[in-house]
């Protein structure tokens, strides 16, 4: 939680509502770093483009890691690239999130067995919050993954760690497809 990472032991109503507002702000303006590595980068670009338009959710890519909140690792991470990924991750300001997009960055994907130069999963070098499977994932899947990140942010509270928030998220299993559907229904209704 970055600057607000102070220890607050007992949560009262006031803290909770401040939490809610701050979380709302963060989940409503997730700026990902345009970090295209391979095939998935094209799908990421397609998701940013007119037909899927990630900007609807306030997500618009920044090219500098300093101004981004979310790292979408879109594509195969190789050994040569691994150190750069770590460096870029470290350059991002807290609170930061990592979304691993596609099988390659989840686990090495099709390059799992013989790919001597492929990193078998980006979670070997940086902590990953949300994995999106697929090779490459469809734009809908990426949007679903981003909703999952938003859910994770919603679970966060001042004083509890990311790990605990992740646990809470696991308990409260939310179907991203349902979320999209709900959002669409809401948009249609309004």
């Amino acid at each position: 939680m970055g600057l607000l990472d102070a220890k607050i032991s007992n949560h009262n109503v006031l803290v909770t509502s401040v939490d809610n507002v701050l979380n709302w702000a963060r989940l409503s303006s997730l700026w990902p770093m345009g970090f295209g590595l391979a095939c998935c980068a094209i799908e990421m670009m397609a998701t940013n483009a007119s037909n899927y338009d990630l900007e609807r959710f306030g997500i618009f890519p920044r090219s500098s890691p300093r101004q981004s909140d979310l790292m979408i690792v879109a594509g195969t991470v190789t050994m040569k690239m691994a150190e750069r990924v770590i460096r870029l991750y470290e350059q991002m300001p807290e609170p930061r999130y990592v979304l691993s997009m596609g099988s390659c960055s989840n686990c090495g994907g099709p390059y799992w067995k013989h790919g001597y130069h492929v990193l078998k999963g980006v979670d070997r070098i940086i902590p990953v919050d949300v994995y999106v499977p697929g090779c490459p994932p469809r734009p809908e899947a990426l949007i679903g993954g981003l909703m999952k990140v938003q859910e994770l942010i919603r679970m966060e509270q001042i004083g509890i760690s990311r790990v605990e928030a992740l646990k809470k998220l696991e308990e409260k299993n939310i179907d991203p497809g349902q979320l999209i559907e709900d959002a669409r229904k809401g948009a249609m209704a309004s």
């Binding site: 295209g36 094209i42 483009a49 090219s63 040569k80 690239m81 390059y111 013989h114 001597y116």
Partner: protein, 400 residues
Amino acid sequence: MQELGKAEHTSIRVTPQGENRVIVEKDLSSEEMILNMGPQHPSTHGVLRLECKTDGEVVIEAEPYLGYLHRCFEKHAEMVDYPGIVPFVDRMDYLASMNNDFAYCIAVEKLLDIEIPRRVEFMRVIVSEINRIASHLVAIGTYAIDLGAFTPFLFCFRDREHMLNLLEWTSGARMLYNYILIGGVAYDFPKDFARRTLEFVKYFRPKALELQKLLTENEIFVKRTKGVGMMPADVAINYGWSGPMLRGSGVEWDLRRVDGYSVYPELDFKVCVPDGKFSDIGDSLSRHVVRALEIEESLNIIEQCLDKMPEEEGFDPRSAIPKRIRPKAGEVYGRAENPRGELGFYIISDGKSTKPLRCKARSSCFVNLSAMKELSLGQLIPDLVAIIGSIDIVLGEVDR
């Protein structure tokens, strides 16, 4: 504003013969700076890294570093059997998977010496031409972003979606199709495919024109690209350039015409080369124009193919696929015209195993990019971006 930029410093324009190369005078206060561009940089189209020695805005030397996306294609090709290589081939040039598959299948079929049903040939040509348009659209769109225009990029992606929908309808995947198989294709075209494709062609023609008006004929765009990154034809051939890059230098060299593989000899299409009126032959603008013209040609090819394609009820596109793919001993170099140039596969078969002994992919981007060092000499940083964009690299194919 017509004369805008006319008196551009001719001293900085570079031709690879080197007569106009900028000579940066070393005075007392001047100091070179090393500028590291990439691997994470918006204009390097992925994970290319350029180490530029710069003096102010002038790039004295730019050394490309590759391998940030080296996914060991050739190792995998030796470890999996012939049909199993197709998905890996898909992932090489991920913008033009169909064309990749086509080139690979041509190579293996040459080795197997099998005959392909005529309808399958037409189907292959149609899907790969659709994919060629999609790939060129991404190339043009990202080039526009490199030069600072954001809207054409989104227009390109909007129209690309229509093609992806068509291909998804055919093959079941959006980007990496695994559709063209050795000896056939995975599925027959869905019902009504021809009608919907023609609808798309009808929709897309005016959009291509709109794109041309928005981007290609834009005064600033022309000023930014004309005369930048000049490459004379003989040097381009020596560098092994192919595809739109070579044609941009004025060489009429299109493997669809030269090799005449598949049903291309029966089709009527033009090999697009710049005429030298709108652009200087061999510059970035020529390469862009060639891509824009090829979109038009591809639309023509699709229409002709749909017209000529034999209709067969209950056609099985997998009928010619061999039960067991084990070519006899030998080696072959098969190639096809990718959107980015010549994609060749050099395959050695030992005649005993179902895996190739060696499968080298000659990727067009890799070869085209090798001229980067020469092209970048004495350019400005914005021109460097314009040149990288005009080469239209896909790092998946460069690094394999």
